[in-house]
Subunit: 350 residues, 2 copies
DNA sequence: CTGAAAGCGCTTACAG
DNA sequence: CTGAAAGCGCTTACAG
């Protein structure tokens, strides 16, 4: 049915019903796979649905069922990180795959500023999504809690900075960092610096804690001159490594809280005339595709962003479907992948 | 209002109306910023809206206005590429930013298989989105045309493989490739190979054509032994470079149709004992963040994925709002950014 | 400027 | 197994 504006008006359920000589209720039952429909009637209705190109109107359905079959994914992160760091895309892929399997849609909501994030709240509460996944939370982001209080199912990737009143999936950041630093210690490094992540994110805090734990266990005293901070970007890795070298030129090992920052650190080390790993051994975090692109390739703590995405979806639907009020915490293990930047014995899976 | 299941039932417009002692029509006018409302009445209604935490139900609104205020973004691409190649995220960012500015929502639809893509059609036609953006099209993807015939506004990133019946934004792939190869020629290279992209994508075809044009203009004869094909992934770059070296060990320049493939090619060149750029000069395409991570850094043809994203949104809303039936083609310029992998005089913007 | 009423296209008891 | 009817929460002529 063509209208003045060239837009094709969609066929309605009532039209299908009339064409097939049945009631609208029957068409609805056929469309929704209700088994209590006579096989012949079903076939007839299906034929007319195909012939007329009928597609159910989602808005009408949502209005009555209160299910939109879509999930909002909120990433409060500025441009600079989202498109530089493979992590975001990988988590998103995990989410997308799991959602596809459930025939649910993904509404992507990137909030580059706090103001934009605040603007999201009304939308998220308007029933356009059945549940919400957030990840890469900063500081005291109140949105998860606001949504939860509204009764909207929400789950979070990464331990929320101010504790969790919602279910979340986290990586064993501290454990992973400890393993990375322990590796450097085993290789005989003794002046081990770290480039930590942002301290308003638990991933940043926990990886730094893991670094400190490993040194403490090894009986090495903590030296704040060996700690520099970045924002999980390449440029901040460049800056942080320069600072560290200026403060402690005798550094012989560096644990960097992300591969992207490690790639920046590597550049600075090389520019300073140091050989990696001979003079300075380097360990990154993420085991992202970047780890294979640098020269030398990066030893890195592998996390599983795709699995995190998948688990977030499972957790969310636990809440949505079972109305499960329990707060669940899923912790994902890490694994050290040894490559050339540390000079260790390469892993099989490197 | 708390229900049995702990879900908070949303306040309706009627409840706000009753509380404020006005009609539902008036509340609707206030919510939608209709100017024909008495200032005092408006204030009173707004107070009750805030007090009750009223948020309009999108499904109900969509049902009558036929506008969902959301846009579907369809990327028909397997996992391997989407999360390895910064290009996708960058285009997405451009789209997301432009959509945010218009207060429109982004429904992300990743189709990893043709079957999944087919499954998208009913959803896209169910009125859940006001328009559709597709990019990274392969082969004879019929979806844009199917949607167009349904009267659904659709625009495409990259020239559609089988010609365009829809508006699109494309990069000057051929021109960019020609510039890249001309750069190698100017540096005195004479045995210039190429790693082309997939030939079921116009970006792949056009960049190869640009390579051939540049050689033809220079009076060099075409040699198919100098052409290898990849799929815009790092691994395919590794494979293709190995093939090329086996066929023509005398190669002294390579134009690679993407930075990700170039990073793979670089690894093979280095492993073969060749120095880059002294023995083999390398030019990539994209000027993605990867170009800065390799050693040496990559000379590359810069394209503007974020601008592509933004332009796609503009084009789409031209269709949606003006019911503009004209097919528009937007062509984005490229720029050669010279870094160390080609051994040329570095650009200021490198 | 304001309100009563119809209608958007579905689903879902309810009755048969 | 099938149908008539109510209702989901809005917007929008229409009348005043």
């Amino acid at each position: 049915m063509r209208q003045r504006d060239g837009q094709t008006r969609a066929t309605t359920m009532g039209e299908v019903a009339r064409a097939a000589g049945v009631s609208q209720s029957t068409v609805s039952r056929v469309v929704n796979g209700n088994p209590r429909v006579d096989a012949d009637v079903r076939r007839k209705v299906e034929r007319h649905i195909r012939r007329l190109g009928y597609v159910p109107n989602m808005a009408a359905r949502t209005l009555v069922t209160r299910r939109s079959d879509s999930v909002g994914v909120v990433i409060p992160e500025p441009a600079s990180r989202i498109f530089g760091d493979p992590f975001f895309a990988q988590v998103l892929r995990g989410i997308s795959g799991a959602l596809n399997a459930r025939r649910q849609r993904l509404v992507l909501l990137i909030a580059e500023t706090e103001e934009q994030e605040r603007g999201l709240a009304p939308y998220l509460m308007a029933g356009h999504v059945d549940g919400i996944i957030m990840y890469s939370l900063h500081g005291d982001d109140r949105l998860p809690d606001v949504l939860r209080r509204r009764g909207i199912p929400v789950v979070v990737g990464g331990l929320p900075p101010h504790g969790a009143h919602v279910s979340f999936v986290d990586t064993d950041n501290a454990g992973g960092a400890t393993t990375g630093v322990a590796h450097l210690l085993e290789l005989g490094r003794r002046v081990i610096a770290t480039i930590a992540g942002p301290q308003d994110m638990t991933a940043g805090v926990d990886r730094l804690e893991g670094y400190r734990d490993a040194l403490r266990v090894a009986g090495l005293e903590a030296d704040e001159a060996l700690v520099a901070y970045g924002e999980f970007t390449r440029e901040s890795g460049v800056r942080a490594m320069s600072e560290l070298l200026a403060r402690r030129p005798d550094i012989d090992g560096v644990f960097v809280a992300s591969d992207l920052m490690a790639s920046g650190a590597l550049e600075v080390l090389r520019a300073s005339g140091r050989r990696v790993p001979q003079d300075v051994a380097l360990v990154g975090f993420d085991d992202s595709p970047i780890a294979l692109m640098t020269e030398p390739t990066l030893t890195s703590v592998r996390q599983s962003p795709e699995i995190m995405g998948r688990e977030l979806v499972e957790l969310l639907f636990g809440r949505i479907e079972a109305r499960d009020p329990v707060i669940r915490r899923v912790m994902l293990a890490t694994e050290l992948v040894i490559r050339r930047s540390s000079g260790g014995q390469p892993s099989i899976n490197a």
